[in-house]
Symmetry: C2
C-alpha cells in the first residue's frame, strides 16, 4: 500500500467521541468523572459494551483467564503474528473519563476506520482491554498485562484480595469474564498503546503527539506495621507500640526522599489503613503503600533502597514491627526503536507536531514491552490533570494522535 494513501487515511473523530461519551456514562464518579473499579458491576457493563461494539465491527472476541479482552480483525494472512492496540477500561475512584479508555477505544476506532474504507491488512489487528491497570481495588497495578506477559502467575493474580477481602478470581467469575483464551506461545508482531499524557508537557507546549521513548522506573511496596492496643491517657510514651506513628514516620520520610531527587524523582504514600483508628486507643495495626519513581533506573533503585531503609528507623522510633507484605516494580523499559521511528515518521508525514517524551505513570505497555516490540503515543490532557474527575481532553487535541496511531498501525500491519 503506497505511503501517500496511508497518510490521507483519517479516523472518524465524531464517532470516536460518541463512543468515549458512552463510556463516560458507565460508572459515574462524584461529579464529572468516573469511578469504574476493576471487576465491579460498572466494569462488567463497560466490558459488555466494548464487546458489542467489537462484534458490530465484525471482530472475533476472546477473553483470557485474567479477563483481558481481545477483539480481533483478521488479516489476509492469519498465520502472521498480530498487532495489538489497547489500554484499559477501568478507572481510579473519582478518576477521569479518558485515562486508559481513550487507548482501547482508539484501537476500536482504528478497526472501524479500516472497515469503513474496506482496507484489508496482511497482519491481524486486535483491540485489547487489559484488566486492572489502575491497581486501585487490587494491587499491584497493570495486573492483567503483567499476567499476559508472564510476569505474574495466573493463580497468583486470581488469589489477590481487595481491602474487603473479596477475591480477584471470584469477582472475575461473578462478572462473567474468567475466559479461556490461551495466548501462550503466540507471537505478537507489535503492541501500540495510545494514552493521555497524564502530565502537562504537551498541553503547555501546544504539541499534539508525544512519542514515548520509555518510562520512569517505578518501585512499589505495601508494608504492615504491627503495634499494640493501649489507652492513650495512662500509657507512657516508653510503653507504647504505636502503629500509626510508625506509619506516619514512613509517610513523612518517604516524601522527603522525593524532594532529595527533585525535579525528576517522585515518592508517594497514597494509602493508609489503620486499626482500630479510634480516639483514645493507640493503633495496633497499620498498612501503608510506598511508591517511588525516577526516569533513571539506577536512581529509582537507589531511592527505593532508601525508602526500605526507613523501615528499621520507623520501627525503632515507634517501637513496632514492620514488614514488607508485597513489592512490585515497572517502567524500566526502553520502547522498540523501530516502532518509535515509525510513530515519529508517521507524525512527520501527517504534518503533526510531536516530541519525544518519557512516561512517569505506569502503563500496560511496560509489561508488553518485555514480550513484544512496543511503543506508545501520548496525546495532550488539560493542565496534565489526571486521576481526578477534572481530567479533560478536547477532540481537536486528540484526533491528531489517533490518526498517527491509525497510520502507524496500518503501515506495520502491511509491512
Amino acid at each position: 500500500m503506497p505511503s501517500k494513501k496511508s497518510n490521507t487515511l483519517e479516523i472518524n473523530m465524531d464517532r470516536l467521541w460518541e463512543t468515549l461519551m458512552v463510556s463516560a456514562s458507565i460508572g459515574p464518579g462524584k461529579t464529572v468523572g468516573l469511578s469504574r473499579l476493576t471487576l465491579s458491576d460498572d466494569d462488567k457493563e463497560m466490558r459488555d459494551q466494548f464487546i458489542r461494539w467489537s462484534q458490530d465491527a465484525r471482530c472475533t472476541v476472546t477473553t483470557d483467564p485474567v479477563g483481558n479482552i481481545f477483539a480481533r480483525r483478521e488479516g489476509t494472512d492469519p498465520t502472521l503474528a498480530p498487532i495489538l492496540v489497547g489500554s484499559h477500561l477501568d478507572t481510579q475512584i473519582a478518576g477521569g473519563k479518558y485515562d486508559g479508555i481513550l487507548g482501547v477505544l482508539s484501537g476500536l476506532e482504528v478497526i472501524r476506520t479500516l472497515n469503513d474504507h474496506g482496507i484489508e491488512t496482511r497482519r491481524s489487528i486486535e483491540a485489547v482491554c487489559w484488566t486492572n491497570e489502575e491497581g486501585v481495588r487490587f494491587q499491584p497495578p497493570m495486573m492483567g498485562a503483567g499476567a499476559f506477559a508472564g510476569i505474574h502467575p495466573i493463580d497468583w493474580v486470581l488469589a489477590q484480595t481487595d481491602k474487603n477481602g473479596a477475591l480477584f478470581g471470584e469477582e472475575l467469575q461473578r462478572i462473567g469474564y474468567a475466559g479461556t483464551a490461551d495466548r501462550k506461545n503466540k507471537e505478537i508482531d507489535a503492541y501500540f498503546e495510545l494514552h493521555i499524557e497524564q502530565g502537562s508537557i504537551l498541553d503547555a507546549e501546544g504539541i499534539h503527539v508525544g512519542v514515548v521513548t520509555g518510562g520512569f522506573t517505578s518501585f512499589g511496596a505495601q508494608v504492615v506495621i504491627k503495634g499494640e492496643h493501649a489507652h492513650s491517657g495512662p500509657t507512657p510514651m516508653k510503653k507504647r507500640k504505636d502503629a500509626l506513628v510508625g506509619a506516619a514516620v514512613i509517610i513523612a520520610k518517604v516524601n522527603e526522599i522525593g524532594w532529595d531527587y527533585e525535579p525528576d524523582g517522585r515518592t508517594t504514600c497514597a494509602r493508609i489503613d489503620v486499626s482500630p483508628n479510634e480516639y483514645g486507643i493507640i493503633a495496633d495495626h497499620a498498612e501503608v503503600t510506598i511508591d517511588v519513581r525516577h526516569p533513571n533506573a539506577a536512581k529509582a533503585a537507589e531511592m527505593y533502597q532508601k525508602a526500605l531503609g526507613l523501615i528499621p528507623i520507623a520501627a525503632k522510633q515507634a517501637n513496632v514491627d514492620i514488614e514488607v507484605l508485597k513489592e512490585w516494580s515497572f517502567g524500566d523499559v526502553a520502547f522498540d526503536p523501530e516502532l518509535i521511528h515509525l510513530i515519529r515518521s508517521t507524525a512527520v508525514d501527517l504534518g503533526i507536531s510531536h516530541q519525544d517524551i518519557l512516561s512517569a505513570a505506569g502503563h500496560d505497555a511496560y509489561h508488553l514491552a518485555t514480550i513484544a516490540p512496543t511503543a506508545m503515543i501520548f496525546t495532550p490532557c488539560k493542565d496534565g490533570i489526571t486521576h481526578n474527575e477534572n481530567e479533560h481532553i478536547e477532540p481537536g487535541y486528540t484526533m491528531p494522535g489517533v490518526n498517527v496511531l491509525l497510520n502507524a498501525v496500518l503501515q506495520r500491519a502491511n509491512a
Copy 2:
C-alpha cells in the same frame, strides 16, 4: 448512724460479679471483650438491662435530653440534694468489660446493699449512667456528663455526627433514650465515681484502692488537612498538595512532643481519615485527632500549644491548608478535699490498702467536679491494660474498692 456500723457493711460481691457478667455478654467484641458503642443497639440493650435492675431495686428511673440515666433511691428527706454515684456503660471498639461499667454497676450495688440491710439514708442516692464517655463514635468524649454540667449545650450535643454522618440526636431517638428529665438548677450534694485505674500502679504495688486526687490535664483537637487530587507518577514534588503527608508530619511530630515531656507527658494521634486513600492518587483530604496530656496543667497547655504550632509547619511542608475543626479539654480539676478525705479515712477504717493517685484518662467525674463536690476511687486492673479486650480484673481485687465506695456514700448520705 455510728461509724462502727458503716464500717462493717459489705457489698455482695457475687451479685455484683454476676451483674458485671450479664453486661459482659451485651455487645461482644472480637474475642473476650466488648465493642458496645454509644447509641448502638447494644448500648440500648445494656441501658434497658440497667433500668430493669434499677426498677427491681425499687429505684425511680429518669433520663435526660442527652440520654443520661438516673436511678434514684429516695432518701428520708427528699428535699436534700442527692448523692450521685456513676460512670458509663459504653465501651471502646474491642474494649474491655469493666472500664466505666464497674462504676455504674457498683452504684447499683450500693443501692442493692442498702436495700438488703433495710438501711435508709437522709439524702437520696442515684446510680447514674452517663452517655458517650468513650468518645469513639462521637467526639468529644464525656459528652453526656459535659452536657449535664452545662459545658456542652444540649443542641450542640444532639447535632454531633459519627464518621458515617449519623446524627447523635437521631440515634438517641432511635434507641428510645431522648428523655425529658430536667436537672438544671437542682443541687447535687456529692458525686462519687469508682473506676478501674487504667494504669498499672495499683496492680504493680498490690494496693487495693487509689484515692484519686485529680486528673491529668488533657487537650484534644480534630484537624482537617486539605490538599489536591493528582496522579502519583507524573506530578512533581513541587506541584503536590498531599493531604496525607500533612497528616503524617503532624502525627510524627505530635508524638515527639510526648517524648520531650517524658515520663508524665503523653501525646497521641489515634485516628486518621484519608480520601481517596487509594494507590496512585495523591490524597486531597485528611483528618487527624490530636490528644495531649500532662498531670501539670501548665505543662499540658504548653504541650498543646506546641502541637498547634505544628499546623503551619506541616501545612508548609505538604503545601496544604490545615484547619482546626474541633477542640476540647478536660481533666484540669482537683477533686473535693472533703470527699477525698472521706474516701481515705473510710479505707483506713476498713483496713484497706490505699494510696493517692492521679488519673491520666478522662472521666465523667471531671465534668461533674465543675458543678458539685466530686471524688473518684480507682481499683486495680491487671498490668494496667485497658481499651483492649484483654482488660482484666478479679473479684478479690475489686471488692475492697466497692466496699470503700459503699461506706463513703453511706456516711455522706447521712452526714
